[in-house]
């Protein structure tokens, strides 16, 4: 099947199935010498699947009604050299498969598309954790303890413990996420790496992989206008950034 055929919107023909190839092999090796170009008993072109169907020797999907199979099962053909059980099964299975396929290959629909289930989902827990480790500069920072304790509540998995991955984030998960972020955003390790407010740009660059935009600058101004300590202002900025949809998903 060529890619070109389907991409231009035309149906294409599937190659013969393995079952058909094997069935034709059986017929070639056992029947073709008498029923190939020769026409013994009125049977010819025995290795042409389309001819087998059009001549009625094969009834697609009906092995027991197919004359070709009746002949070999009753050991009438090939004379004095009956087909093995496995060769008979190969013919039988091929004929059965023809019930929903045309001989010579089935036509593949031109349009193979489906309706993709597009749903929003958070970044995998492991990616979020790895981003936080990058922000902190250490995988062993003590402020990560709560987050690590909550990892299975936040979507991580461990098949050895029969805990499967979770691809959604609900209100409770969001609460757990914020609870787990609080020690991180309070940590002096983080606030010293991204000193407020000058470090906001580097923080966004590290957390979100982009530069500050107009909305960010407006948010920074709003936070700066609050009556709070520098540490508190950093904490707010940190929590807002790391709980934003852009950090959690897209």
């Amino acid at each position: 099947m060529g890619l070109e055929e389907s991409s231009v919107g035309l149906g294409s023909l599937a190659p013969p199935s393995l079952e058909q190839q094997k069935a034709m092999e059986v017929l070639t090796n056992n029947c073709n010498s008498c029923h190939g170009t020769a026409n013994l008993g009125g049977v010819t072109n025995i290795t042409d699947p389309k001819h087998l169907v059009s001549s009625g020797l094969v009834v697609p999907g009906e092995p027991s009604k197919s004359k070709i199979l009746q002949s070999v099962v009753n050991n009438r053909m090939p004379p004095n050299n009956p087909l093995s059980t496995s060769d008979q099964t190969i013919l039988s299975e091929w004929i059965a498969l023809l019930g929903n396929k045309s001989p010579g290959g089935s036509v593949i629909p031109a349009d193979l598309s489906f309706t993709m289930p597009v749903t929003s989902e958070p970044h995998l827990f492991r990616h979020r954790l790895s981003k936080l480790i990058t922000l902190l500069g250490s995988a062993n920072d003590a402020s990560l303890a709560t987050l690590k304790d909550n990892r299975f509540l936040l979507g991580d998995y461990d098949f050895a413990k029969a805990i499967t991955p979770k691809y959604s984030m609900e209100v409770t998960d969001m609460r757990n996420w914020l609870t787990s972020l609080q020690p991180i955003c309070k940590s002096t390790q983080l606030s010293s790496r991204f000193a407020w407010p000058a470090g906001a740009s580097a923080f966004v660059q590290t957390a979100l992989a982009r530069d500050l935009n107009a909305a960010d600058n407006q948010a920074i101004q709003q936070i700066q206008a609050q009556t709070a300590t520098t540490a508190e202002k950093f904490e707010i900025f940190c929590l807002v950034t790391l709980s934003s949809l852009e950090f959690l998903s897209k």
């Binding site: 099947m1 629909p109 598309s113 993709m116 597009v118 709003q222 904490e235 934003s244």
Partner: protein, 369 residues
């Protein structure tokens, strides 16, 4: 402090604060098709590289639309998160991760991460003659077998799917890597004869049938070939060279279990029952490592990889998954082979992403940019 956080947070939300919002108006200048391409890749980037699109990707998609898919997808495959996501994919595919009392169940996932990070062929999942630890270092594999067959020869796989007659191990191997279930056609897997099988599995047209409507012989005459490759591995996945494959004679031991925590062979002849020599897809193989190579050479192998990766990364399930024409996966496999004769994770995902039918499937969903 808590109240201050709440007030500011609420205020920011009310003000429509949102990091990453694009400047209004610019989108209107772009063609609808390019915006759909942008939306599609933005949707996939989270799942494949664990991040939103960066500014250069956004620019490329806005200006070139779907023509930019290939270049972006190719670059994604070189990112660290990509390799980690392939680890997660394989862990999910096999249901193996973490650490158990038996061993490190992370080995299949670590191998996948290594293969993805180094751009090695996807087939190495079954043919790798090495194992990798959580730090990415090459280590001896954990089964003590004299050969290795990628994820198949890990305690994680072998003990997770250990069970009577080695049926689950064989079935999982064929399902996860060929997307095929028993019975196979005679053309694909010629059957063992009734005479070669133990009595339990030689029943034909008898009263014992399974949910799939087949008698014992129909499936077990093929299971017998494949389960034989596992006959030397005990329930914990440890290789036992002395395993006999014979039913444990103790009356307290359930059918299907042999001695020393190994499992019973399907084969009647004691010499064959203890031997790993068997067949798969009609071809002889001396052990699981040779069998795995034969599996990777099947035309079904890559299209099955395309199916499994599409299923995982596009989160396909139920009727949607069941309704997809197999030709789509064959087409993706062909695309991947055009990218590399031995496609890796990156080639396969690039083939999925750039496949026009997959992009159309996203557009059909009605998702808005």
């Amino acid at each position: 402090m808590k109240s201050l956080t709440r007030i500011v947070f609420k205020g920011l939300l009310l003000a429509g604060f949102c990091f990453g919002a694009g400047a209004p108006g610019t989108a209107l200048a772009q063609s609808a098709e390019n915006l759909k391409a942008l939306s599609y890749m933005g949707y996939l980037s989270t799942r494949i590289v664990g991040r939103p699109l960066n500014s250069s990707e956004i620019s490329a998609l806005k200006s070139s639309g779907s023509a930019a898919f290939g270049q972006i997808a190719s670059a994604w495959s070189r990112e660290p998160n990509f390799a980690e996501n392939m680890q997660i994919y394989v862990e999910t595919l096999l249901g193996t991760s973490g650490v158990s009392g038996i061993g490190d169940f992370g080995l299949p996932g670590y191998l996948a991460k290594e293969i993805a990070a180094k751009g090695k062929p996807y087939s190495e999942l079954l043919t790798a003659n090495y194992c990798v630890n959580g730090s990415g270092q090459t280590i001896p594999c954990d089964t003590q077998a004299p050969f290795n067959a990628g994820v198949l020869t890990t305690k994680a796989f072998l003990s997770t799917y250990g069970g009577a007659y080695n049926i689950s191990r064989a079935a999982k191997m064929m399902d996860r890597f060929l997307c095929s279930d028993y019975p196979f056609s005679e053309a694909e897997e010629p059957r063992l004869t009734e005479q070669e099988l133990i009595a339990q599995f030689s029943t034909r047209n008898g009263t014992i049938t399974f949910g799939n409507g087949n008698d014992c012989y129909t499936c077990h005459s093929q299971f017998g070939w494949h389960s034989q490759f596992f006959v030397k591995f005990d329930g914990n996945g440890v290789y036992k060279a002395a395993a006999t494959g014979l039913q444990n004679p103790s009356t307290s031991v359930t059918d299907g279990f042999s001695t020393d925590n190994t499992y019973t062979s399907h084969l009647k002849d004691p010499n064959r029952a203890k031997s790993e020599n068997s067949r798969i897809l009609g071809k002889p193989a001396k052990n699981l490592a040779e069998a795995a190579v034969i599996l990777t050479q099947s035309p079904k192998f890559l299209s099955c990889a395309a199916k499994n990766m599409s299923k995982h990364f596009l989160r396909l399930s139920g009727n949607t998954l069941n309704g997809i024409h197999p030709a789509l996966y064959e087409q993706i496999a062909t695309q991947a082979k055009a990218l590399s004769p031995e496609p890796g994770f990156g080639d396969l995902l690039q083939a999925i992403i750039t496949n026009p039918h997959v992009f159309n499937s996203f557009k059909k969903s009605g998702a808005t940019p």
